[in-house]
């Protein structure tokens, strides 16, 4: 996996050094559309429902202490810093990671990858680099979509059940958000994108054993990517809390 990443990077940089574009813009945008734009409805919907649930559940608890005005800040911080990137990572690992692994795996078993290699085209640069870059670039945008959807949902709950007007809600959110939290969320998202892309492509290109192999690798890709995203997130949080309290 480590060498896979290094080889992808050197193969791509090699091409850049020779003064050529590493891959066609249209190929990159095809993946950004597939991984990014087409994921917006799923990410927005799931985050909206989670934001709704979170605001409701915490709201009823906080109401007992008369502190329901903490709901906006709670949801905003939780999503921008933690849940937005994490949920998006899990959703993309399932939605896009699986699709990349299955696609590359099928190409691998039907000799398409070997044919690309035989033509003298670096398969890592041609197949892996645009996919990884698309996930890397789009992940923070989707995390943002997730956070916005959750905040909108909690605004609706606050308005409907806890008598917090939208203007007041906005004030509370802006007051509680810290640039530091936003940056943390964005950094994490970039790393999750890279992680999911690398795992999905690696599993796809190392498929062995025909159609069944594609199935096994796809499952393994999703499981590994979700576990890695959660594991990496935990590690990131530990480092963050210990070194930047």
């Amino acid at each position: 996996m480590f060498w896979f990443l290094i080889n992808t990077l050197t193969e791509t940089l090699d091409r850049v050094r020779r003064g050529r574009r590493p891959f066609r813009a249209e190929s990159f945008f095809r993946y950004t559309t597939r991984a990014g734009v087409e994921s917006v409805p799923l990410v927005a919907m799931v985050s909206f429902f989670l934001g709704l649930t979170m605001a409701l559940l915490t709201g009823y608890q906080l109401e007992r202490f008369g502190t329901e005005r903490l709901i906006p800040g709670l949801v905003a911080i939780a999503f921008t810093r933690e849940l937005g990137p994490l949920l998006t990572g899990i959703m993309l690992a399932a939605r896009i990671g699986a699709s990349f692994t299955a696609e590359l795996g099928t190409m691998q078993v039907s000799e398409e990858v070997e044919a690309i290699e035989a033509m003298g085209i670096g398969p890592l640069r041609y197949l892996v680099a645009p996919r990884m870059l698309a996930l890397f670039a789009l992940m923070p945008c989707l995390s943002l979509v997730s956070s916005i959807a959750a905040i909108i949902a909690s605004a609706l709950v606050c308005r409907a059940y806890f008598n917090i007007a939208f203007v007041y809600f906005q004030d509370l959110v802006l007051h509680s958000l810290l640039i530091r939290d936003l940056i943390t969320g964005v950094l994490k998202s970039f790393m999750f994108g890279l992680l999911i892309g690398a795992i999905a492509c690696y599993r796809g290109l190392t498929v062995r054993g025909g159609a069944a192999g594609v199935g096994v690798s796809t499952t393994s890709s999703v499981v590994t990517a979700i576990t890695s995203v959660i594991g990496f997130d935990t590690l990131y949080n530990i480092v963050y809390v210990v070194f930047f309290p």
């Binding site: 090699d14 050529r20 000799e111 398409e112 070997e114 690309i116 290699e117 035989a118 033509m119 670096g122």
Partner: protein, 263 residues
Amino acid sequence: MNERPNHVVELREVQLDFPGKRVLDGVSLKVGPLDRLVIMGQSGSGKSTILRMVLGIIRPTAGEIFFKQFEISRLKRRKLQQVRAQIGMVYQYSALLSSRNVRDNVALPLEELTTKSRAEVDQLVDEKLELVGMLDAKNQLPSELSGGMRKRVSLARALVMNPELILFDEPSAGLDPVISSVIDELIISLTERSKVTSIIVTHEMDSAFRIGTRMAMLYQGKIIADASPNEFKKSRHPVVQQFLTGSTEGPILEGSKDAVATK
């Protein structure tokens, strides 16, 4: 190596081991310019492996493989990729990219390896598709084509970079006899017209004798015969004889599981 070699491909004492099995055991072959070398042998004897080794996809355990002056078996990845652009390969099952249409499949090497404009690429693609008689199917996906048509597109893709060497892996496999002959004739006319050297791997006799200017027989990891088609037919080697006649009696099936099945 500064002297100009008089071969296009040369294998010197190539040995290849897979876990628990020696696939190639000292294979030596020379392919001269404009030769059409047919390598024959049983299924699973390592014929296709030789093609993959010439492309540098599989590295030999021992021995050397040359394409012109380049020692394929020792080249670094970057150089290997440049050398591969001079070799075309037609796979047994065509290996066309299933999500790209015929035009895009043939255009792929040009788009990725050259700096030609879209108009130049289109012109070259049309030219090659015309040669193989597939211009009308330009916008179709590989899944919409028959096996023979796919093979033609694959041939156009192999020709599009004007390679010096084309490798064919079982060109007539899975095709009916008529289409198979058409593909064979296409291979002959295109390799002659484009002045390309070729190595063809097959186990189909008719096809082999139609295409080949030289024949080699691979048996138990070794080349047991390497001659012109006429001399090859006259060979007294029992394995070659059995292969030519397709008889079940002879050294080929001795001790193999297939022999048990026949008896």
